[in-house]
Amino acid sequence: MRLSVNNLACERGERRIFAGVSFTLRAGEALVITGRNGAGKSSLLEILAGRLRPAAGVILLEEAGERTLAECLHYVGHRDALKAALTAEENLAFARDFLGSPAMTPSEALEAVGLAHAARLPVAYLSAGQRRRVALARLLVAHRPVWLLDEPTSALDTASQDILRLLLERHREGGGMIAATTHSPLFLADAKEIRIERRPTRLEGEPEEESA
C-alpha cells in the first residue's frame, strides 16, 4: 500500500494556508509533520482524513484494493471523539463495531494503554491525559493501516508517551503507516519529516501562482 500526496494546497476562510505539499508514504514508513502554530499541520491531517477539502492537489492511495482512503485510516484529532456519557469500554466497543475489521477487544486495548482500571468509568470522569489514551486505544480495536495522529503526545505523561511510542513502532513493523504532527523532535525513529511553512503574503505585482 502506498499513499502519495502531490502538490496539496489548503485554503481556509479564503486564505491560503499552505501550498505545494508533497510526500509519499509506503508500508512501514512514518511521517512527522512539523511547523509553527497555525502553519496548517492539523489542516493537512484533516484533509487526509476527509474532513476538509483540499484547494488543489492530489491524494492517491495505491495498492489498497477497493478500499477508499477513509476506510483505511484512523484519525485521532484534537477532539477525542469520545462520548462523555458512555464508559471507556462502551466508546471503544462502538468504534470496534462501527469501523469494522475488529482487532483487539476494548478491554485488551485499554490494558495496552494502561487504563484497564478505568474501563467501567464514564469518560466524563477521566482526566485529559486519560481521555487521550482512550482515544489512542481506538487505534488498537480496529485494524486500519494508516494512522493520522494530531499531536498524539499532548496531555500524555512520560510513561504514556513511552507506551505510545511502542505502539507506533509495533504498528510500523506490521506494515502500517503513520502521519503525525508533533512539536517534540525525535518522537518517531527514522521518520520522514516535512515542515509546513505559512506562505508569505503575496506581494502586489507578483504573478498569479499556478493552481494545480
Binding site: 476527509g50 477532539r79 462520548k83 458512555l86 463495531d97 462501527f98
Partner: protein, 222 residues
C-alpha cells in the same frame, strides 16, 4: 454496513438513555403544551375535542423540533463526526442510523403517549386511535425533514432557531395532512384513507430526500 448501522443505532439509544440525553425531553415538552392549552381555552369540551387533533399535532411537531439541533451538533463538537466519516458504510447510512435512533426516542414515544394526552383534550376513542396512527406514520417525516436542517446547522453554535426557521415551512404539508387524517377519522366528508395515504407518502419521500440531503449537507459542511 449493517454492523456499522447497528453499532451507531445502539450508541445513540444508549446516549439518549443516559444522564443529559434527549430521551424524555421531547415527551415532557409534548405533555407541557398539551396540558397548557386546555387551561388557556377554558372548560369547553366540544371545542377541545374539535381542535384536539390539531393541538396534539402542533405539540408533536414542536416536540420533534426541540432536540433536533443536537442531532449532529453533539457529534460535531466532540469530534465524533470525524470518526463517523471513516466508516465502510456511506454517510447516508450514518444519517439513517442517527435519524432512526432519534425517532425511536422522540417520535415513537409521542405516538404511544397520544391516547393518554388525548384524554386531556377530550378526544373520543376513535380519535385517539387515529392520533396514534397518524403520529406513527407522520412523525418520521418530521424527523427526516428536520435532519437536513440539523446537518446544515451542525457547525453553528446556536443553530436551534435557524434550524426551526429552515425546516418549519417544509413540515407544514405533514402537519396539514396529519391533522386532516385525524379529523377525517372523527367524521367528515372525506374518507380517512385519502389524507392518511398522502401522509404515508410524505414520510416515504422525506425518508429518501432527508437521508440524502442530510448526508450531502454533512459532506459539504466543514
Amino acid at each position: 454496513m449493517i454492523r456499522s448501522f447497528r453499532a451507531l443505532l445502539v450508541r445513540d439509544l444508549k446516549l439518549a438513555a443516559r444522564v443529559g440525553g434527549s430521551g424524555v425531553m421531547g415527551l415532557i415538552f409534548f405533555l407541557m403544551i398539551v396540558t397548557l392549552i386546555p387551561f388557556a381555552l377554558g372548560p369547553d369540551l366540544n371545542l377541545l375535542s374539535r381542535i384536539g387533533p390539531a393541538i396534539l399535532w402542533i405539540a408533536a411537531l414542536l416536540a420533534t423540533l426541540i432536540g433536533l439541533d443536537r442531532l449532529f451538533q453533539a457529534d460535531q463538537e466532540d469530534g465524533s463526526l470525524d470518526l463517523l466519516r471513516l466508516s465502510h458504510a456511506p454517510l447516508e447510512v450514518v444519517v439513517l442510523a442517527k435519524v432512526v435512533a432519534y425517532w425511536l426516542v422522540t417520535g415513537l414515544p409521542l405516538a404511544v403517549a397520544a391516547p393518554f394526552l388525548g384524554l386531556l383534550v377530550a378526544l373520543s376513542p376513535e380519535g385517539m386511535l387515529a392520533m396514534v396512527a397518524t403520529l406513527l406514520v407522520g412523525t418520521p417525516a418530521l424527523t427526516f425533514i428536520g435532519a437536513v436542517g440539523a446537518a446544515l446547522t451542525a457547525s453553528l453554535r446556536r443553530g436551534g432557531l435557524i434550524l426551526a426557521i429552515l425546516v418549519l415551512p417544509f413540515m407544514i404539508p405533514t402537519l396539514i395532512f396529519g391533522v386532516s387524517a385525524a379529523n377525517a377519522a372523527l367524521g367528515g366528508t372525506i374518507p380517512f384513507a385519502t389524507p392518511f395515504l398522502i401522509l404515508i407518502a410524505l414520510s416515504l419521500i422525506a425518508a429518501v430526500v432527508g437521508t440524502v440531503g442530510a448526508a450531502a449537507a454533512l459532506r459539504s459542511g466543514e
